[in-house]
């Protein structure tokens, strides 16, 4: 078969496009942008549901839409566009014909079929709301998995077309020796893609067979482990691809040359070697894998990859600076930056991408990838906060920028609405920055990800956020204030943004930053804030006979009781309630800032005394469990009044300071 050697030269840029490559780049990019549009509409629905005041969708619809959002964005939009980037970097930048265009088209159509099939499973069949992670044993319809598999196979074909193009270019001598840096970045992405897609096949094919009944079970830990070799590594394809786009942007806009090819390429090599194994950060909270495996694969490897990202994040602006200074923008430290084309969406998108990815995405990624911190924030809203900073602010923004460049080049058209195009990167970038930051904030306060209802209404088990949580539900906030204190002095703005009141801040002065983090973890198990479901939880306890109707049970204890409904704790509750009545309020709740403010106290002793620490509490509980308990309804005649013993102070104390109440003396064995 004759090889198509038709090239077209772009009149404005001088780039030479091989005809099939030209068409393939356009089609892949356009389908990608359609997926982005679909995903964007779904994003709106997701966000309007998670915004508690609006709470748009019903739970079923929410999880369905969230599944579609994750897949259309993270998988379909990004990978379609990346295939376009590969063909551009392989063929156009090397002046080389695209190898095997038929294979490339076959891959493209497989991807399209896979994309449609997967969306069919999610939105038409509506029985596959398993999120993009699709953790087994949660099962979706077989078309869901088959769609993903077809898509992955198509993308794999695309990668090999790219590799073959490099080989063709070498043998036809369209480049000598080293490929250009942008192509090298694309090569990095393609290499990571091969590992990624192979891992995807390893896990998705058995899962597909399981969905049609040919495989009996899928081990859930094994699924998670191998899935993330696919799910996370694909994010690293994004990173490599968007870094390549950064370099391309610097070259296109400023004619900038990389500051050091050696350093930049070595940084890409670090990606190739180490970035994929950082997938292990998704399993940091899983049992069954050792810390050795976790730490080597995350911290050690991850830091090398992070080093590489920092190199790129500095050399790209550095290269721009050099190019600008050569043009004479030499005044002061920053004239080169001030005189950059801020009105050009190609530049502004890429610049926002560099800053956003580096500062927000990168830093939060290092935080989440640290085993000890991950345990606090795993599966909270912090996680989507982090990856929207990387994958939206970083990757999507960069791809948007290069799209602004490619539209005139590929379609030979003027950009419509140039004024809108000028603003779009700023609006999108600013929005995403704020959005990511606040998701992270909510996450540190314990707001879970993937949850239809932050308030957990209807749950048997009450869930209470720390007091300065993101109180996005205004009425809830009002009711809470009215109930708790008989007055409402939280300014609306504070309530909305979750800013602690001044008194709260004062109360926390001695123990600011570190303690806040700790508390974010501890508080999940019962902070002090009443919420909408407090009554329901209480009613359930009463119904089950654990508490008498009139008793007031402290929040933390209620959670414990509800957790352990099978444990006979009736008397414990009664006694604790008694004790609480006897204790002055300020002692019970050292953090009750209202009281503190009244007493002029700001200094809250927060240190754990050794006897009051965790270990001893467990022992206390054991001892208590072992002791004779002539309980069951009614006061025990002769038995020791359990609740009066200081050893139970832990349970009666303010549970949002995990160290227990600060009043009284530390419990000693045998004390009453």
């Amino acid at each position: 078969m004759a090889v198509n050697r038709m090239f077209r030269t772009c009149p404005t840029t001088g780039l030479k496009f091989h005809q099939p490559a030209d068409a393939l780049i356009r089609w892949n990019a356009v389908v990608g942008v359609v997926a982005l549009l679909v995903g964007g509409i779904l994003a709106l629905l997701v966000t309007l549901t998670r915004w508690q005041t609006v709470h748009l969708l019903a739970p079923d619809a929410f999880y369905m839409v969230l599944t579609g959002h994750g897949l259309n964005m993270l998988v379909f939009w990004i990978i379609f566009f990346e295939i376009a980037v590969l063909y551009f970097a392989g063929s156009t930048l090397l002046n080389c014909r695209l190898a095997a265009p038929r294979w490339a088209w076959a891959g493209f159509w497989l991807m399209v079929i896979g994309w449609l099939m997967n969306n069919y499973a999610v939105f038409v069949r509506q029985d596959s709301s398993v999120m993009f992670t699709a953790y087994a044993p949660m099962g979706a319809h077989w078309t869901f998995y088959l769609g993903l598999i077809l898509f992955a196979v198509g993308a794999l074909i695309g990668c090999f077309v790219f590799f073959a193009t490099l080989a063709v270019g070498k043998s036809e001598r369209t480049y000598n020796g080293s490929v250009p840096l942008v192509t090298f970045g694309a090569l990095t992405a393609a290499i990571i893609a091969v590992f990624t897609i192979a891992s995807g096949a390893i896990i998705l094919i058995p899962t597909f067979l399981w969905s049609i009944g040919m495989v009996p079970t899928i081990d859930s830990l094994m699924y998670r482990h191998i899935f993330w070799a696919f799910g996370h590594s694909s994010q690293q394809i994004n990173v490599s691809a968007h870094v390549a786009v950064w370099y391309a942007g610097a070259a296109i806009l400023f004619g900038a040359k990389p500051m050091s090819e050696k350093v930049s390429r070595t940084a890409f090599l670090l990606y190739i070697l180490f970035i994929t194994i950082a997938s292990a950060h998704h399993l940091l909270a899983d049992p069954g894998l050792t810390s050795k495996w976790k730490i080597l694969n995350t911290s050690y490897a991850f830091y090398l990859a992070v080093l590489a990202s920092m190199v790129h994040g500095l050399t790209v602006p550095g290269a721009i600076e050099v190019a600008q200074r050569q043009k004479g923008f030499n005044k002061g430290l920053f004239e080169w930056l001030r005189k950059a084309p801020w009105g050009n969406p190609v530049f502004s998108s890429i610049f926002i991408s560099i800053i956003g990815f580096g500062f927000l995405g990168g830093i939060s990624g290092v935080i989440l990838g640290t085993e000890q911190l991950n345990l606090i924030m795993h599966n909270t809203f912090y996680v989507p906060g982090h990856f929207h900073a990387t994958v939206v602010l970083g990757t999507t923004m960069a791809f948007m920028g290069i799209t602004y460049f490619l539209i005139p080049v590929l379609f030979r058209r003027e950009m419509a609405f140039p004024g809108v195009a000028k603003w779009q990167p700023y609006v999108f970038g600013l929005g995403m920055t704020v959005f990511s930051l606040f998701m992270m904030g909510a996450g540190t306060l314990g707001v879970p990800r993937r949850h239809w209802d932050v308030a957990f209404s209807g749950n048997p088990l009450g869930f209470e956020f720390p007091r300065h949580r993101v109180a996005d539900d205004r009425t809830d906030g009002d009711r809470r204030c009215a109930r708790g204190r008989g007055r409402c002095d939280v300014p609306a703005g504070h309530r909305l943004l979750g800013v602690p009141r001044q008194e709260d801040r004062d109360a926390r002065l001695p123990a600011r930053a570190g303690a806040r983090w700790r508390r974010a973890g501890a508080d999940r198990f019962g902070g002090r804030i009443a919420h909408r479901d407090r009554r329901r939880g209480h009613a359930r306890l009463v119904r089950l006979g654990h508490v008498r109707p009139g008793d007031r049970v402290p929040g933390g204890l209620r959670a414990v009781l509800l957790h352990q409904l099978e444990v006979p704790v009736h008397r414990l509750a009664a006694e604790v309630t008694l004790r609480k009545r006897r204790q002055p309020r300020a002692q019970r709740h050292p953090h009750a800032s209202g009281d503190l403010a009244r007493e002029g106290g700001g200094q809250v002793p927060r240190e754990r005394s050794s006897a009051d620490g965790n270990g001893s509490t467990t022992q206390e509980m054991r001892r208590w469990q072992a002791s004779p308990k002539p309980h069951l309804p009614g006061p025990a005649p002769g038995g020791p009044p359990i609740g009066r013993s200081p050893r139970l102070r832990r349970w009666s104390g303010c549970s949002s300071c995990a160290s227990g109440s600060s009043s009284g003396s530390p419990p000693s064995p045998g004390s009453r």
Binding site: F163, L166, G177, S178, V179, F184, L187, T188, I191, I192, V194, F195, A198, S199, I202, D219, L221, M222, H225, I226, A229, S233, K262, R265, T266, L269, I272, L273, F274, T276, I277, S279, A280, L283, G288, L289, T290, W293, L296, N297, A301
Partner: protein, 58 residues
Amino acid sequence: MAEKNQPLAYEEIPEEPEPFMQQLLDNPWMLLFLGVVVPTVLYLIWGVMEIVSVPIAP
């Protein structure tokens, strides 16, 4: 060899072997091999070994 302060004429530059790193970075197949093997060993195989060594509950 030419004197220190006299630049070499083009033909006189001795053929240096390509540095190792450059050879590596210019070899996409080698990079592909490394990029697949390293995570396969460190992440996949090691991880699977650890998971299968966890006893299954009866």
